[in-house]
Every structure is written in structure tokens, then in C-alpha cells.
Homo-oligomer: 248 residues x 2
């Protein structure tokens, strides 16, 4: 089995109201790329947030007392801290200038995914309100445009417990299962595999990151040839319920 | 930019003392695959451990009182619990039948990586003593055999905090940097990127897992075309020092 991963070059800078599915389709047409059934389209959260208007101007944000406190304690703009708190359902860790939270979606990441890279000065982007709905919308629209059944994964770049550096994770999924479940199958020697349930959507997100580059501006990546598990998976499927989580 | 990921079929079942680099080389020759400079050879920990004799027969293991207690509490074979404790430097969480530990290498995973899948009945495999040295040995030997500079990543399949399912992680690295560091570079709009230091070795490990399959027995994967960051990276570079870790 094999697959290939390639960046979709030529997307314009995305602004509020843009039709990302159409921009992806047009970028593909312009380089002669014909989509195939089972292609996976991996889209950086940032352009989805921009298109959906999930951008906030810091000017005019009134920081609460707690946000002002966080701002002072963590050397952050207190208005940014206020926006992070708006996006937060639970604070997981506050230490040094690190603020790890659970978002309203249940994802655990620094600063609730609020970010000021690749957005104009004085503004920050928020995660999409419902990244799975965003992914579903892109998949449906790409089907209309191309006639092909494409899976879509929306990704963001987050740190991890225990390990340095960041990797891309799947926050929205449509058109495929998020996991490949080997439980009940047998290994090479006939033993039953007990706990192997691979979060393939996260592995695909990470694979796509490798060709994105943070500075180069390639926010869409195509993965071709991976025989993904069929299903109506969701990014929210990957969130470990808090009551089963040993680290929240 | 693009890259491809393909499983190396045709490796024999690996036993203690086997020369994995030679087996990889011979499998490649048998399918007409010629290695190229900058190919990345991703190798499942399991075959490295087997070749290095990191297999223990449970019969004859005398469980300590604490291992017997863990066995009873967690419905595990107490001899297995004893082996896990031998491999453990610090217990991070014990709950239900989940035992999350820090290994002597510093990696955090369930059961210290001790595993009984794809190994004969009554035996378990341990992680390599020094996965970075194992990776370096494979890279050096493959250079002798092929004349090509190949990066090597040794991987294992672990769960994560906050997210369900498992993904493959890099535990040994040779011939490349483990991270691509964007800190100090600027984004699309000219802002400095502050904290983006991508753990590419982990993303490559996950990408390779996608073509392995747990039951199909494809323990070696080739990644071709990824322009990895040069350097003498190590899997141990990815371990977050305990004093900087908010979740240990």
C-alpha cells in the first residue's frame, strides 16, 4: 500500500465570505489536477476561520479582571487573554506563560486555538465554531464541483503533553472514519489485538503538515492513494471524554 | 512539495540476531527498489526489539509484591506487571487497568512499551535499550549496503492525553533533525512566528503507520521526497524534560 501527499499551490489569500471549496477547485483546475474518489483534502483551520469570519479585532475588546490578571501574569495582551477565555470551557494548566485549555469543542490546546499568525495586525483568529460542520460543508461543495467523493480534514497545530514541539491534529473530519479500529483482529501470529484503534485522521493531519510549511502559505494539501476507513467520522470523535481522561 | 509513503513488502519474520539493515536491503532488491539519498526508512520498534533480543519469557519472572498488587488491581498477568516495572522510571498514572509510565528513556506511554502482539505466546517485547543508537546503527549499515544516506526513524504506537486512539511516535531517529524549527521566520504576512517548532519525526512516524497495518505485518515503510531538515536529531530530543512538563 502507498499514498502520496502534495501541497495545493496557488490558493489566493482567503478573506471572510470566500468560498473555500471553489477556491480549492479553481486552484486544482489551474494546475491541471483532477480530483479522484478517495482523495483527502486537508485544510488548515486558519483559512476556514477566515472564510467563516472567525476573526476578532482586539481593539474594542474589554478585558475582564481575570483576563487582565492573566495578561499581566503571562505577559500577554489582556484583550487576547479575554478572547481566549471566551473560547474556553475549562482551564487545564496555567504556568509560566503557558495557558492550556479545553475549548468549547472539547479539544485541549494552548490559548484555545486563538492565534495571530497569518492574520492582519490587531486581529486574531478563532477556531471554527463547528469544525466538523465546516468539513462537511467543504466535502459536500467539492462533490458538487468535482463529482468526486472527497474526504476533508480540517487541522490545527498544537503541542502535546510529554513531548516537545507541535504537530498537526484533525479538528474537523468529513467523508471518512476518524479511526481505523483493529480491535478484534489478529496479529501476524494469530493473537487478538486488544487496544489498537488508530487515530488515522490525526496521522493524516500530521502527514499533510509536512508539506505545508508555516511560512510558505500552502494551506491545502491533497493526500492520494490512502485507502481510508469508510464512515461518518468526526473530529469530535477524537476528543477523549473528560471523565475518561487521566490528564484533565 | 510532495512526498510518497510506501510499505516495504516481503520482509521475513525477524528473530534475535537478525541483521535488519540487510533484511531491508534484500527486501528492497527483491522488489527492484533502489534507495535514493534522503529516503526515510521507518522501522517498527517491534522488529528492532526482536533482532536485539529485547524479548522476555514470562515464565520464570518472579513478580514482586507491588507487581502482584498491580496485576490483581488491573487484571494483568503479575509477571507482565513485573516486566513493566523493570522498564519504568516513574509511574505517571494508575487507574482502572491503565498504567501510564515514564520509561528509562523518558518516553511516556502505557505499560512502558512492553507488548505481546506479534511475539510468540508466553513472551513479551521490550523497547530497545537505546532506540537512537538502534536507528544510527541501521542508518550506518544501510549506507554501507546502498551507498545512500538514508534517515531512519524507529516508531512505536502509543495513546495520547486528551485524545482517543493511538498514533505512531518516533522513539529513535538518525540521519535527520527531529524538528523543523520555524521560530524566527515570518508568516505569510511578515509576522514573526513565535512558537512553531514542528516535531516532524513524529509526523513522519504517523504517516508511515498509515501503510503498516497492525495485522498485515509490514514493519518497514519508506518515505520518499520529503525534504527533511538536516541534522543529528534524536528521538530523545522529542522527550519533554520532566521539569518543563505540565502533565507529569
Amino acid at each position: 500500500m502507498s499514498f502520496s501527499v502534495f501541497g495545493l499551490e496557488g490558493l489566493p489569500y482567503v478573506s471572510e465570505g470566500d468560498d473555500i471549496a471553489r477556491l480549492i477547485y479553481e486552484a486544482a483546475v489551474s494546475i491541471g489536477l483532477e480530483f479522484e474518489d478517495k482523495d483527502i483534502v486537508v485544510v488548515t483551520q486558519k483559512i476556514v476561520s477566515k472564510a467563516e469570519g472567525r476573526i476578532i479585532k482586539l481593539e474594542g475588546i474589554e478585558p475582564s479582571d481575570f483576563a487582565s490578571h492573566i495578561g499581566k501574569m503571562m505577559d500577554k495582551d489582556p484583550r487576547l487573554a479575554e478572547v481566549v477565555l471566551m473560547e474556553t470551557s475549562r482551564i487545564i494548566r496555567m504556568k509560566g506563560n503557558t495557558l492550556i485549555v479545553e475549548t468549547h469543542h472539547g479539544h485541549v490546546c494552548a490559548n484555545a486555538g486563538v492565534d495571530f499568525s497569518n492574520v492582519k495586525d490587531g486581529y486574531v483568529t478563532l477556531l471554527p465554531v463547528d469544525p466538523d460542520a465546516s468539513a462537511r460543508g467543504l466535502s459536500d461543495k467539492l462533490f458538487e464541483l468535482t463529482g468526486k467523493k472527497l474526504a476533508v480534514i480540517i487541522t490545527d497545530t498544537w503541542g502535546r503533553a510529554w513531548r516537545l514541539g507541535q504537530v498537526d491534529f484533525a479538528i474537523g473530519v468529513a467523508g471518512m472514519a476518524a479511526f481505523r479500529d483493529y480491535r478484534g483482529e489478529t496479529d501476524y501470529l494469530g493473537h487478538e489485538l486488544r487496544v489498537t484503534n488508530i487515530a488515522v485522521a490525526d496521522e493524516l493531519a500530521g502527514a499533510a503538515e509536512l508539506v505545508k510549511g508555516k511560512s510558505a502559505g500552502v494551506p491545502v494539501v491533497i493526500i492520494r492513494g490512502y485507502d481510508y476507513p469508510e464512515g461518518d467520522g468526526l473530529g469530535s470523535d477524537i476528543v477523549r471524554p473528560v471523565e475518561e481522561d487521566l490528564f484533565r
